[in-house]
Amino acid sequence: MEYLSPITIFFAAIFTSNILLTYFLGMCSFLSVSKQIKTAFGLGLAVTFVLTITSALNYIIYYTLLQPFGIEYLRYIVFIVLVAAVVQLLEMFIQRFSEVLYINLGIFLPLITVNCAILGVSLFMIIREYTFLQSVFFGAGSGLGWLLVIVAMAGIRERLNEQKIPPALRGAGIVLIISGIMAMGFVGFSGIVQIQ
């Protein structure tokens, strides 16, 4: 496989291979927390943050502990536990140093642990055999991509409130249809760069 520069991966993760719209990861919180731009933005930021940190930490753990001992199959458990710990730590950190941010976004933090996009990114970087730098940029890019999409969706949903939607499609139904259309839009970029 040819070597992609971390910057390329970063932008590819945001646009052409958006974690949410091309892999449909992190759908659950995407559906439930995309009602308001403000909260969506808060959650998006937190996800970006956690993604960047966990991809770095998981990379280190994987290549210094799991691989040398030949227990790569434990990666699912180990990765998730690590994500949980990082989220906990982050929560304490924010609570201590910025109560304003803690209140704005604090309630979304615990949710992130179970966001499958986080685990997905860690697993992808292993499968695609990224280097450390590539992984970190991949993590940050995926996070930003996720943020971009959830904020866009929240913007659309805020406007949808005033529209007449057929009763059967209200709520999750219309959101899924819109994400489908958005996904097609994003896939349109994919000719530019391809990262699997």
């Binding site: 659950c28 919180s29 309630i107 949710l111 009763p167």
Partner: protein, 155 residues
């Protein structure tokens, strides 16, 4: 769908003894949002908006308040209001407090009565929430619409 901790907080405030004696849910096991959605559909069927109902309920409340505690005869309806001192928060948790006002509206024609509080009116207007089934201040949208003779004939 997963619940945010914020929503769990929300559910706690709806429980008995938190803001009101027996809570807002009654024996309804549905999610708050599902209750709101189901009641909203009833209104839609009659082509009514939350504000239409809330405005009408407020109108009766204001007429009743003028008579202090006595009964007010409004022709088709008899209204009576009880106003206790003190203020209470809304379970949805936004800032602001509501007076403890209970309104009885009796329809002479149908010989039926509805009872609601000033907080109920606020919750209908702002949150589309009519109370869980079986809760003490639950208003059944269909009953209210019929009693107040609002909207067309639905269906």
């Amino acid at each position: 769908m997963k619940q945010t901790p914020g929503e769990q907080q929300l559910e706690i405030r709806f429980r008995p003894g938190q803001i009101t004696k027996s809570g807002f849910m009654g024996d309804d096991t549905r999610h708050i949002h599902d209750i709101i959605e189901a009641d909203g559909k009833v209104l839609e069927r009659f082509g009514l908006k939350k504000a239409d109902i809330a405005d009408r309920l407020t109108l009766f409340m204001d007429e009743g308040k003028k008579e202090l505690e006595g009964k007010v005869d409004l022709g088709e309806y008899v209204v009576q209001v009880h106003w206790a001192r003190g203020l209470m928060p809304c379970p949805f948790g936004e800032p602001g407090l509501h007076p403890k006002v209970v309104v009885h509206v009796f329809s002479k024609a149908s010989r039926q009565e509805i009872r609601y509080s000033q907080l109920s009116v606020h919750m209908i207007r702002k949150h589309g929430f009519w109370g869980g089934k079986g809760s003490v201040f639950r208003l059944e949208p269909i009953d209210v619409i019929r009693l107040l003779k609002m909207g067309g004939n639905g269906e």
